[in-house]
């Protein structure tokens, strides 16, 4: 019996120490590799200089990294802003602005407001991408609200003691020599390099089709309502107004940007019966901005959500893996090159001839004209690109049935 007890004790001790030792080793590795750049550990080329794009905790990671970055210019919005608006754009540099891209995929106005408030103190300029779908109103589900940010101590603890962090540390080591890693820059920008491999393997047509299919399913589920109970407001609009107030209080120059959706997506919006609400939403944004300006806010609404020769960029044929697209990854996400033109327009930089009429600032005096023009241009583009129009219409009429297709 004493032998059994001794062997049990030794076994228990080794069991306990190996649990403790392995956990400590993981924490040390996570700290040294610092995959999320939240500990400020020195980076070493070939080891941890390139950081992977996190699949989890991105909101919390960007909050911590953004705070340490001390940005004087802030980019906010969802994935379109994260991959499209580059903090290294010349407009920031020439104004000696230190820009940070705090945009997070899937985020809404709630996050945008919270993130602005958190990173606001040193903020002079903010570029805020606004997405129409975030403003469609559906009654909140019970228990659906959750804090936007996790406690920063908890985030740091998870960055040391979690399977996710361990896998991301290993991923950091693995991606250093990759040609197109799925990475996140230290200024928060997502260069979406991994899409280059996707395009090389599948071609743009596949990406466009897949995104269009997902958009069709999403649009089919959207509520056809902008306001809560016809009250003329909604949580998203309230958040927007609070954001404008916060910007005014901080004397921040704010650019609200309606994203430059590809023509295919605009046609899908129209075919889903959402175009009138899209127009009304533009009026609401214009009115909210005008109201904020009258109270001292420095805010401009930029409308790029209109059919235009840039947004109607032709999609390469099915199976074509060579032709490069200049402006878009797929209908939902524009490339940094188009984002650069958007920022050029917003900051009054010189634009190339092809973009001279790209985007307009919405003000109450011109909003109706702009809305009418967009309606006309959409109809014209529908005629000019019948294949796209047919695809959008087919997806709208059968958003789920169109998922399985014959191979090309």
């Amino acid at each position: 019996m004493p032998t059994l007890h001794r062997s049990i004790r030794i076994f228990g001790l080794v069991f306990f120490l190996s649990t403790l030792g392995a956990t400590a080793a993981v924490a040390l590795l996570d700290y040294l590799i610092d995959p999320y750049a939240i500990f400020g550990v020195r980076t070493v080329d070939g080891i941890n200089a390139i950081k992977p794009r996190p699949d989890a905790m991105l909101t919390d990671i960007k909050a911590i990294v953004g705070t340490r970055f001390h940005p004087s210019a802030l980019i906010l919005g969802n994935s379109r802003a994260e991959v499209g608006f580059d903090p290294l754009h010349r407009a920031f540099a020439t104004r000696s602005l230190r820009a940070f891209n705090a945009a997070v995929p899937g985020s809404d106005m709630d996050y945008t407001l919270a993130s602005f408030r958190r990173l606001m103190p040193t903020n002079e300029v903010a570029v805020v991408g606004v997405d129409f779908l975030d403003f469609l109103y559906s009654p909140p589900e019970a228990g659906s609200s959750s804090p936007v940010f996790r406690d920063s101590i908890a985030t740091r603890a998870l960055a040391l003691f979690s399977t996710t962090a361990l896998l991301d540390s290993l991923r950091t080591l693995a991606i250093q020599r990759e040609r197109h890693p799925a990475s996140l820059r230290s200024d928060g920008f997502n260069p979406l390099l991994d899409y280059r491999d996707l395009v090389a393997n599948d071609g743009y047509a596949m990406l466009f089709r897949q995104r269009a299919f997902e958009s069709a399913r999403s649009l089919a589920r959207q509520p056809h309502e902008l306001y809560a109970g016809g009250a003329g407001t909604s949580p998203a609009l309230s958040d927007l107004r609070a954001l404008l107030q916060a910007a005014a209080a901080n004397r921040t120059q704010m650019h609200l940007v309606i994203y430059p959706y590809h023509l295919l997506y605009l046609l899908q919006l129209d075919d889903a019966g959402l175009w009138p609400l899209f127009e009304q939403w533009k009026r609401d944004l214009t009115e909210s901005a005008a109201s904020a300006r009258s109270q001292g806010a420095r805010v401009t609404v930029w409308d790029f959500g209109c059919a235009h020769r840039l947004t109607a960029e032709p999609i390469p044929d099915e199976g074509d893996r060579k032709t490069e697209m200049r402006w878009y990854w797929e209908a939902g996400h524009f490339k940094k090159e188009l984002g650069d033109l958007v920022l050029d327009r917003a900051f009054g930089e010189a634009l190339p001839a092809e973009a001279i009429d790209f985007g307009i600032d919405l003000v109450p005096a011109t909003v109706e004209t702009r809305i009418a023009e967009c309606r006309v241009s959409l109809a014209a583009m529908r005629q000019r690109f019948p294949a796209l129009a047919h695809e959008a219409s087919r997806l709208a009429s059968s958003p789920s049935g169109a998922k399985a297709v014959s191979s090309p």
Partner: protein, 507 residues
């Protein structure tokens, strides 16, 4: 409070364990009372408002147990009937009133539903435990005069929320034994090992399968065959690793206190027929249904047709025990049919087929497929969704592979297309990861020994001696096992960042 949470592991459990053994050195009664209070606090952590319900149920059944034991003849029978009826009414109110109201609304056009009733955690488990106790008292098989022991028997936190469903006669002797109140190093170590294995099953396997099952059942939308099977297989393994992981954790936690719980799982997917499946799956529920429903209905004592009817009734009620909904009734009904068919087959053909190697493999495969078909309705949020997924499994919406997968098997493209396999937009990574996780979980479920087999020589649970031994992966007290388990514990702890509920908490 969840077993797989930091609060439980690093606050509740150490305090309860140390308090129990510290008091146990002074008084067994004090230690039992402390463990009872700790168990009630454990329950109240979820929602204090329902503590009164648990306490009221314990006090009522304890008193009724005393009353029934002191009565004779017709009064005894009436007392028993009243007590069971009250238990069933309580369960019925919380669990089935909403279904009754909404069904009435549908049929009669009334507007009673939906009712705003929150299902108290574990009510099905603590109600069944106590009905079984009352039945045993009624049949002169049990009697418990010590309130603290009775309250501990019902509220004992390792089993309170989701079982195993305990039997009075297997727990009371352990509560009475003085050695229970002294720490046993081998019990503590074995408990920690079993808990680690259970935790790993839950957080490393079940939780990683969940997104792939959820994706199909949340919005099935006419799934194609491989997508539907992927989701259903993911769920089949998720629920097994989730629930058996929970049961292992319960058994392990209880062993820390020196108390053995009954086995609840014994590699059910290795079963060669559905009768065997129910002897290996949720074993304590099967035992309860057999002893307190199937046998009282007559079992097989009144001929074959009556036996099948009794099986069907038992399984239908077993299905409805899991939840108030037609999908649970269909799940139970399917298992009732399977069991009846299995008995008919046995009667006509015996078990010769399953004795050959190929026959055994085919039997396991057929049983597994049948179980999966039933899981569809168990998991689906509605009968319509279940019907959609089932249609997908049997090819109603075609067979398709994600385009990205097609691109990687270019040489097979023509052959697959000639068979009618089409290309699916998107979901390539999801599709691939679903089958990677299903393959991994399947390999463990079918080829690896279970927790009880691994720890068999240390008698991990009640009746574990009956578990078949294995040649590989038998626990040995050497440094390799200690280190391996330490690494497994570390991996599990690192996965606790987002604790998820156990599937059986909803029942």
């Amino acid at each position: 409070m969840l077993f797989n949470s930091f609060g439980f592991l690093f606050v509740f459990l150490p305090i309860t364990l140390l308090g129990f053994f510290w008091l146990g050195r002074r008084s067994a009664w004090l230690a039992a009372a402390f463990l009872t209070l700790a168990s009630i606090a454990f329950y109240g952590w979820w929602n204090w408002h329902f503590v009164w319900l648990l306490l009221a149920s314990i006090i009522f059944n304890y008193v009724m147990g005393l009353v029934i034991a002191s009565m004779t003849g017709r009064t005894r029978r009436y007392s028993f009937a009243v007590a069971v009826a009250a238990d069933l009414l309580l369960l019925g109110y919380y669990k089935y009133a909403n279904l009754a109201a909404t069904s009435l609304d549908t049929v009669a056009g009334t507007q009673y539903g939906p009712l705003d009733i929150v299902l108290p955690l574990g009510i099905s488990f603590f109600t069944f435990t106590q009905i079984a106790y009352l039945a045993d008292v009624f049949q002169h098989k049990a009697r418990e005069p010590r309130f603290v022991h009775y309250a501990l028997f019902v509220s004992y936190f390792p089993h309170l929320i989701a079982g195993p469903i305990l039997h009075h006669k297997e727990m009371m002797p352990q509560f009475q034994a003085p050695r229970t109140y002294r720490p046993q190093p081998n019990s503590v170590l074995l408990g920690a090992i079993i808990f680690t294995l259970g935790l790993a099953k839950k957080v490393l396997i079940a939780d990683n399968l969940a997104p792939y099952a959820n994706a199909v059942f949340a919005a099935p939308d006419h799934p194609t065959m491989l997508v539907a099977w992927g989701g259903v297989l993911a769920y089949a393994f998720q629920i097994y690793f989730d629930f058996s992981g929970y049961s292992d954790m319960a058994i392990g936690l209880s062993r820390l206190f020196g108390i053995r719980l009954p086995l609840n799982f014994n590699s059910p997917y290795k079963s060669r027929n559905i009768i065997e499946f129910w002897r290996r799956w949720h074993m304590t529920l099967s035992r309860f249904l057999r002893d307190y429903l199937y046998f009282p209905l007559g079992g097989n004592r009144h001929g074959e047709p009556r036996r099948y009817l009794n099986l069907m009734i038992t399984m239908l009620l077993g299905g409805l025990w899991h939840g108030a909904g037609w999908n649970f009734a269909i799940w139970g009904g399917l298992h009732g049919l399977y069991l009846a068919a299995n008995h008919v087959w046995r009667r006509w053909f015996g078990e010769g087929v399953a004795r050959t190697r190929i026959g055994a493999l085919a039997s396991v495969a057929l049983t597994f497929i049948a179980v999966n078909v039933a899981w569809v309705f168990f998991r689906a949020p509605s009968v319509e969704v279940g019907r959609d997924v089932l249609g997908g499994m049997f090819g109603e919406f075609g067979v398709a592979l994600p385009a990205a997968v097609f691109a990687h098997i270019e040489p097979l493209r023509h052959a697959l297309e000639s068979l009618g396999v089409t290309s699916l937009l998107g979901g390539g990574r999801q599709f691939a990861m679903t089958y990677v996780w299903v393959a991994l979980a399947g390999a463990i479920a079918f080829a690896a020994p279970n927790t009880q087999q691994i720890t068999r020589r240390f008698r991990p649970a009640l009746a574990s001696a009956g578990i078949a031994s294995v040649r590989t992966l038998r626990l040995r007290l050497n440094w390799r096992w200690a280190t391996g388990l330490g690494l497994l514990a570390c991996a599990s702890l690192l996965s606790l960042s987002r604790p998820t509920e156990f599937l059986y908490f909803q029942f």
